[in-house]
């Protein structure tokens, strides 16, 4: 594997630290996969037989066969979820912490090992990004291990105002931490390849300097000791190409956010332990909060363009799964360090924002269908990708299941045929058809909820964790409330995901800008805009079933209820005030809330100060442009960074391609001064801001020219400095 021609061609400068890598032969762990998935198949088979028997009792039909097929597929998915919980629960009872305890890695020295912590961002909330980085930096400093780590903010922002704010806040951060030469900032000239292209650009520019790099999300925070542990793990196990941590959801304020956070913290341990049982050293990558060995990643994980057109062709959107598959294909191991604490991320704070994120993920996951059949991939990689695809396909399958059932109901009523049931196929099951159906319903519920019950039992066995969740009673109350909310939320997810899948397959985009918010959550107008169709579908569907068959209506109420109440549900669950009230009553408490780790406490304290100072509020349009032209320091920082960028041949070429340095830019600058930014398109503003020669000129002219020759907008901006 390593003997093949390495595609890295180092072209300049400093020697990279020596790498010691020892790839292993392919490891087989078929029995684990067989045992795990066979358990799910067995359970699915038995319950499907019961379901088929029920259909047989009322007579076979084509729609019955379709219903059975959909049932089998859907039940298999919930059986898989259940098995993750069951396996995880028993493994945790047996104290299985296999992978990360193979060797005593904590004694390993990491002196001389260089690691880059990279924060790829794209038009994010800049104060939060910088404060997250600061929390991680200070935690590492406190751990006394800052020496081997460099920090990079890798910006792909396309909003001119965000660009300027990033530079300004980066400098303030560096100045405040005295971290010049340790915390770096780089903005790409173009966004080729999106996030994976951003990482690739970092690796192409500085990659060989670092033995490892840790990818952060814009809202990630990691504890210093955890980062050090990750590096030690990698140093101790040279066959490992990546270690993915399991980030805990934190810092939620809204009711929705706190429910998701609680579910993540309570259920994730048993699920991830179950996942780790069959994945072992063939884990997956979730795109952030993971440490990656630089050289093999650079050798094997540059993503190809997929043939064909969008949505399946072109650039790979959800790059993480594919990068993991490519690393595994090259015989590198991927571990999931689920027993390492101190890895955090944040979650969407409302149902609408959650769906917005799902829209992106749905397209990316469905695109994996193309990669699923690629030659040379490991079977486990295919499994990871298939599970990701099925996670989204489950929604339309469930919708089809319900519609097929409705069709059968309508058909029965339409034809006027009476229900003549026969005895069950299984002679010992002497129950009526209704009881038979109820039995299947109960089994489905049990399979769905068993992992949650097991998570609570798991909690009951662990005194420390129990206390961290505010006690068993509080946790149980939270689990019941979370389950009730999930029951209402699931039908909405079904409708949303079905729409996303359909839109992806038809290659039509779903336009989705940032949702309108009030200070306390999603605005009512936004909720109506996003959910009116859900409400209408719920009402029409409910009335239709009521008219078809009233007893069946009551079976459908959980599905209909979520749709009908979707508007108030969306508004109220997005409210921070309700989240706070729930917290005061002890509902949905998580360990990070009951005893906040220092890094999170520091982050929250700083964010509170920034909010109080109004620094997190959105600024007026073009405020960044005003800063970069008028503020002597912001202008100097911006121009210095642009000049430095020109030292890199790739960036210099990209700037030239963009048009920087051409006479046209001066004409645009004149227009900007005379007519104001509202007369320029965003691309034109970006072009001006990319020209290191024009910006100092613009700064001088804005201050030197008589006010009468400047647009009124500039005059008012200059007056701001008089205060």
């Amino acid at each position: 594997m390593m003997a093949s021609a390495p595609p890295i061609t180092q072209t300049a400068a400093e020697p990279a630290p020596p790498l010691v890598v020892s790839p292993l032969p392919r490891v087989r762990l078929g029995w684990r996969v067989f045992l795990f998935y066979s358990s799910a198949v067995l359970l699915t088979g038995l319950v499907s037989m019961l379901f088929a028997d029920l259909l047989w009792r009322t007579g076979w039909s084509l729609s019955g066969v379709a219903l059975l097929c959909l049932f089998v597929a859907l039940f298999f998915l919930i059986a898989l979820g259940c098995m993750h919980g069951v396996f995880g629960f028993f493994l945790r009872l047996a104290y299985d912490r296999r992978l990360t305890n193979l060797r005593d890695y904590r004694a390993q020295t990491i002196r001389g090992v260089s690691t880059a912590l990279v924060f790829p961002i794209h038009n994010e909330a800049v104060p939060r990004v910088c404060e997250g980085l600061r929390a991680t930096y200070e935690s590492l400093e406190k751990a006394g291990c800052l020496e081997g780590f460099d920090f990079y903010i890798l910006s792909d922002s396309t909003d001119p105002d965000k660009w300027v704010e990033e530079e300004r806040r980066w400098f303030e951060l560096v100045h405040g931490l005295d971290a010049l030469g340790r915390v770096y900032y780089r903005r790409r000239v173009n966004n080729e390849g999106k996030k994976s292209g951003n990482i690739r650009d970092f690796l192409s520019t500085w990659g060989p300097r670092y033995r490892y790099f840790v990818v952060f999300d814009a809202d990630s925070v990691m504890r210093g000791e955890t980062l050090v542990d990750l590096v030690k793990l990698m140093e101790t196990h040279p066959q490992v190409g990546m270690v993915q941590t399991v980030p805990a959801l934190v810092n939620a304020g809204s009711l929705f956010g706190r429910i998701q956070q609680f579910a993540n913290r309570l259920y994730a341990p048993i699920f991830i332990t179950g996942l780790n049982f069959w994945a072992q050293a063939f884990g997956n990558y979730w795109g952030h909060n993971a440490i990656i060995r630089t050289e093999p990643f650079m050798q094997h994980c540059d993503l190809p363009q997929l043939p064909g057109r969008k949505p399946f062709g072109g650039q790979i959107l959800s790059h993480d799964f594919v990068e993991a598959a490519l690393l595994l294909r090259a015989n590198w191991e991927i571990w999931m360090a689920y027993d390492l604490e101190g890895s955090y991320e944040e979650a969407p704070q409302s149902m609408v924002e959650n769906a917005r994120r799902d829209r992106r993920w749905c397209q990316g996951n469905l695109q994996h269908f193309m990669v699923l059949w690629a030659r040379g991939l490991r079977g486990l990689s295919r499994l990871h990708m298939a599970l990701g695809i099925l996670g989204y396909l489950a929604s339309p399958l469930w919708l089809f299941f319900l519609l097929t059932f409705d069709w059968m109901l309508w058909y029965e009523g339409h034809t006027g045929l009476s229900k003549i049931t026969v005895h069950a196929f299984t002679p010992f099951l002497s129950v009526s058809a209704t009881e038979h159906a109820f039995l299947i319903f109960v089994i489905c519920l049990a399979v769905l909820f068993l992992p949650k019950v097991l998570a609570l039992v798991d909690l009951a066995f662990d005194k420390e964790r129990r206390r961290a969740f505010g006690g068993l009673a509080n946790a149980a109350g939270g689990a019941v409330a979370e389950t009730a909310f999930s029951a209402l939320h699931a039908p909405l997810q079904m409708l949303w995901h079905s729409k996303f899948v359909a839109a992806t397959l038809l290659a039509s985009g779903v336009q989705w800008g940032p949702p309108k918010r009030t200070a306390d959550g999603i605005a009512w107008s936004e909720a109506v805009r996003q959910h009116w169709a859900h409400t209408v579908v719920g009402l029409i569907w409910g009335v239709a079933i009521w008219r078809l068959d009233q007893p069946t209506f009551w079976w459908f109420t959980p599905v209909m209820a979520g749709m009908v109440v979707s508007i108030p549900l969306s508004v109220f669950t997005s409210r921070a005030s309700l989240g706070q009230q729930a917290r005061q009553t002890g509902l949905f408490l998580t360990p990070e809330e009951t005893s906040p780790p220092p890094e999170l406490a520091a982050l929250r304290a700083r964010m509170a100060v920034l909010e109080e100072e109004g620094q997190t509020s959105p600024r007026a349009p073009d405020s960044g442009l005003a800063d970069v032209v008028l503020d002597p320091y912001v202008n100097a920082i911006h121009v210095s960074l642009l000049r430095e960028k020109r030292q890199n041949p790739a960036y210099a070429r990209a700037l030239l391609d963009l048009g920087a340095g051409q006479p046209r830019v001066r004409a645009l600058c004149e227009k900007l001064l005379a007519e104001g930014p509202s007369e320029l398109r965003r691309e034109e503003k970006l072009l001006i801001m990319s020209d290191a020669d024009q910006l100092p000129w613009l700064h001088r002219q804005a201050w030197l020219r008589p006010s009468a020759t400047l647009a009124r907008w500039w005059q008012s901006q200059i007056r701001e400095y008089a205060r």
């Binding site: 990279a16 520019t205 043939p307």
Partner: protein, 191 residues
């Protein structure tokens, strides 16, 4: 104030109305505010220094406004001072200005050295070192490398990607789906 100012009549300064100089004062003061010169005494001194230089030019350039003259003088004063402190070789004004402002920021002029700003030398050694050695680096030395995509054989599925390029394929699929729907309706209503 300058000698020129002393010869003015009432309501005038250096041959121009007081209001005009007031506008010039505001603009110069705004720029020094932007440079975070926040000490009011120092700020007043610096603005007065600039205005005095502008007033000296006032009589010889009657067609230009007081504000224009003042900001020009301010620009010249600041750049000359940057050139002296940084011992900068002759360079384009914009280049020197950018370097000087960056040096002011890195030396923490607004926090530590407001009293040294625009003051003639000699300056404290620490200040001079901070100004001359300050250098903003957004990243370490480049260590360029090239990542090249490895070929990925997508297997039989790659063939499917060409189907969508066939002419009228979407229309054919739509018609097929419609036909299937008719078949289903017929089947279920004729049993």
């Amino acid at each position: 104030m300058s000698a020129a100012a002393k010869t003015d009549g009432p309501g005038q300064l250096a041959g121009r109305p007081l209001e005009e100089w007031n506008g010039a004062y505001s603009k110069v003061e705004s720029y020094f505010h932007a440079l975070r010169v926040l000490n009011k005494v120092l700020l007043g001194q610096l603005v007065a220094l600039v205005l005095e230089r502008a007033m000296q030019r006032s009589a010889s350039e009657p067609l230009r406004s007081a504000t224009e003259l003042a900001v020009e003088e301010m620009d010249r004063l600041v750049n000359d001072w940057f050139a002296q402190v940084l011992q900068a070789p002759p360079a384009a004004t914009e280049m020197l200005s950018t370097r000087g402002r960056m040096a002011l920021l890195l030396a923490d002029m607004p926090g530590r050295w407001q009293d040294q700003f625009l003051r003639p030398g000699p300056w404290p050694e620490e200040f001079v070192i901070a100004m001359r050695d300050g250098f903003l680096r957004a990243g370490p030395n480049f260590q360029l490398a090239q990542m090249t995509p490895r070929p990925l054989d997508l297997g039989p599925i790659a063939t499917l990607t060409h189907w969508s390029t066939l002419p009228y394929v979407k229309m054919a699929v739509t018609w097929g789906a419609f036909g299937l729907l008719l078949v289903l309706i017929f089947y279920f209503t004729h049993q």
